[in-house]
Every structure is written in C-alpha cells, then in structure tokens.
C-alpha cells in the first residue's frame, strides 16, 4: 500500500498563543482524524516549536531550523492510502487546514521494497 507523509506547517507564535479551550478543540479534531484514518495511520508526532531545533550543515552546528521561515514544520503523520484523493479526504479533517496561518503538505513516500 502506498505511503504518504502529511507535513503540518504553521506559525509557531500562533500555536503558542492558543488558549486551553482552543487546544482541546484542536486535539479533538486530531482524534477525529485518527479515528477516521484508523489503521491507515502508521505514525505521527507533534514537534516542539522550531526555536528548539538544531541544524547540522557542512559549515557546522547551527541553532534553529533548516529553513528560517515564519511558518515552520509543527508535526507530521505517516499514512497509507490507495491514492491521493483518499489522502485529501482524510487530511481535510486536520484542524491546521482550517486555520489561516497553517496548512498541510502531502508528500508521497518512495517505496524501496
């Protein structure tokens, strides 16, 4: 079965400014996504904000994310699906799709088997 990663991008400042109530609604939407996707979800994690990132390059060790942008990677899922339409149908359930500062990038995963 083909695999896709869902890369969740957004503005860390806006995520950090969310109230407890907003987070509860946010988490509930993620639970709804996981329930709808069922065992098609192979994994996924929420990441600490991008200022906590450390980047290694040929020039050395750097403080911060690889790309210094306002919208940074905030989390990801790895899912299985038969085609892109199935992925789109599931990804639409994610709350980051509805908030104006965030979004979800879908990337097919190369099958090395």
């Amino acid at each position: 079965m083909p695999k896709y990663t869902l890369l969740i991008y957004g503005d860390s400042a806006q995520w950090e400014a969310m109230t407890d109530e907003q987070w509860r609604a946010h988490d509930a939407a993620h639970a709804e996504f996981r329930a709808a996707a069922g065992d098609r979800v192979l994994g996924g994690q929420q990441l600490e904000p991008s200022p906590t990132a450390t980047t290694l390059r040929s020039t050395g060790t750097l403080d911060g994310p690889f790309l210094e942008t306002k919208e940074a990677l905030g989390g990801f899922y790895m899912i299985e699906a038969t085609d892109l339409d199935e992925v789109l149908g599931l990804a639409k359930l994610l709350p980051e799709v509805r908030a104006a500062h965030s979004g979800v990038e879908i990337r097919p995963v190369i099958d090395h088997e």
């Binding site: 038969t82 339409d85 789109l88 879908i106 097919p108």
Partner: protein, 430 residues
Amino acid sequence: MTPDLPDGDRPRDEFPGGGRSSDELPEGGRPSDEVVVAVAEAHRRDWAQVLATTARVTRDLDRAEECTQDAYAQALVVWARDGVPARPGAWLTRVARNRALDEIRRQAAFRRRLPLLITEGDNPGDDRLRLIFTCCHPALSREAQVALTARLVCGLSTYEVARAFLVPESTMAARLTRAKKKIATARIPYRTPDPDEMGARLDSVLEVVHLLFTTGHTAPAGPALIRDDLTASAIHLARTLHRLMPRVAAVTALLALLLVTDARSAARVGPGGLVLLPDQDRSLWNHAQIAEGVALLTDALRREPPTRFAVEAAIAAVHAEAPSWERTDWAEIIGLYDVLLRLTAGSPVVALNRAVAVGFRDGPQAGLDALAPLTAEPALATYAYLAAARAGFLRRLGRRTEAAAAYDEALTLTDNEVERDFLHVRRRNL
C-alpha cells in the same frame, strides 16, 4: 476546413497529433488528400476517446499517448492502402490498444514505471470523463491542467500547445512531463470524482475549457487574431462534456457561451483588419450556431440559478440577437453585468466591461467617468483593453492628445498583430 492539417509553419509535426516526422512512417508513399482529411477528422473527433481507452490498458499516460500517436500514424498508411474504415474511432482504438498490449507482454516490469490508477467502470464515455478530470485535478497547477488537457484530451501537439501559451516547446514538454510524473507518483486517481466533490472538480474542468477557448478566441500574440485549432478543440470538448453530462446546467451554460461567442468569428476580421462589434457585418455571423447556443442557455437557466458562464452567455446572446449595434439593449446588458459582478466577487475585468457598456448607453463622457476608478486597479495595470476603451471614449469626445496617449499605452500592452494594427490605424486617424 481541416484545422488539424499540416499548415506549413509547424516545423515538426507532419501529421495531426504527431511528434514524429513523416520519414519515420512505414513504406507506402504519401497518403491521398482524402485519407489525410479522414485522419485529421478522426483526430479531432476521436483522439480523447482513443487515448482514454488505451490508458486503461497501459495504466500509464505517457505510453498511452505514444500508442495513440502510433495508431494515427498507421492509419495514414493502412487507410491509404485499404480504404477508410467504417468506424475510424473503433479502428484507432483497436490498433492503439493492441499496440499497448504488445508492449505489456514485452516488458513485464513495465507497469511499475509510471502507474496510473484505474478505478471502476467500463463505459467508454466514462473513460473520457476520467481523462478530463484527471488532467484537471486540483493537485495540479492551472498551468499544468491546461497543458495536459490541450495535449491529452484535445490531442494538440506539444509544439501547438507551446505556441498557444507563448512558451518555448522545450518548456512545454518539461511542464507536461512534470505533470504526468506527478499524476503517477502522487497517485492522482484516473476516475471521475465522488458526487460530494463533483461541484468543485467540475468548476476546475470548466475553467480549463474556457481558458483554452479564450486563448484561441483572441490569441495573446502572433499574426492571427483567432486560433481556430484551439477554439474548435474547446468547443468540441464542451460538446463532449455536455453529451456525457446533459443535465448539468453549468456544462450546458459553458457550451452555450462558447457557441454564441464563436458564432461571431467570421465577422471579427475583415480585409482592413480587426472589426469591432459596432462595425461587424451581422450577416456573417453563424446564426444557426447562435440559435443553438441560445436554446442551450435557455435550458441551463431553467434548471439552475445562473452560473458565471451562464450570465456571460446571456450577455453574448443579447449582442448576438440584437438586429443592429444601435438597437442593442444596453440596459439589459448592464443589468447582466451587475449580476456577473456579484457572481465574480467584483472582478475588475467584469467591472471594466460594465463601464464600457455604460459608455455605450449614456455616451462617451459617462463611459470615461465609469472607467476612471478602474485606472488605479492593479489587476488591470497591464490589461490592454482598459487603455483601449479609454482611448475609444476620448476619441469620441474629440480629446485627441489624450486619446493618442491612451492608444500608445494599449499598444505597449498587446502582442497580437491584428489588434496592434487596429490600434495603430485608430491612432493615426485621430
């Protein structure tokens, strides 16, 4: 008319839909005109169907395209020897499909290359719809959607598509390859959308067909005002969609718009160049086509509230049914533009057209006043028709210096030679 025939300024394509030259054809001499016409006709009518059906066998758009091209190449030779078959489309489909099956037998690993996801259904009409919806999938950029549709559904050669959209052939080839690769690797399915997403998906198909038509209706650059191959392809595609989805009002309305707009083509260019609507010889209009378009529009409006294309068709119909320029119902046209402004969330181009209509109803000063607020609109800053419209009203007011400046501005904004000649003449005659 056989717009698909080689036309001399096409450097590479020796036969319709080709990407190969005639010296790669099998032995058998040059086909007669009759055969060439039959192949061109079959190309226009059946290309999408042959490709769509073959794609179900190859599961790969690239390979389906090659097999389809080969089938048309063979037709030139075999039809010249054996005569044109009774059902050319069926003949071409069989040849393309057999070719595809041969390939699959030869290369067992072939399916892993660029897989195309085939889902349910066996109806040939469904195949064509699948192809269209795949080419216009929202995960592809509008640019890619239009290029794929022109190449794969309309069967225009890569060179023709490149020329229509003003990019080098290599750029267009790369764009098509990238788009086909995305369809395969991201697994955009080869199927028609589910009912709950049909509305949005269909809108994107209709936008693409409309864009193909408008690109042909007034070519963005070059010696000809109209690119017949593009307008004919777009109308053919709209007809196909209408045949496959006869009860969908948005499709009916788009076909109506294209038919009524295209019906005026013969009068748009005269011996002296571009002829604007006020001066067109209305007897040159295709009145049968106008009647067909108006009947379709009436049907669409009876079914559902008007879409953007329905209102545009209605505006085109008011012009098409006016007995003369002087007797055009401007109040009706302005009322329709008001509806269109609401449907397009205040599109600046619609606002421009409305302002021009106000000028024709209430006189050139009123037109100029209506245009004034639009000159600050960034979306119209490079739009030649705004400057041309201002120039026209200034000319009628006798404000020659300002009119000349406005004509100069319009001239810097269009590369279509027929339009440029027209603007030059108007400027000179001030």
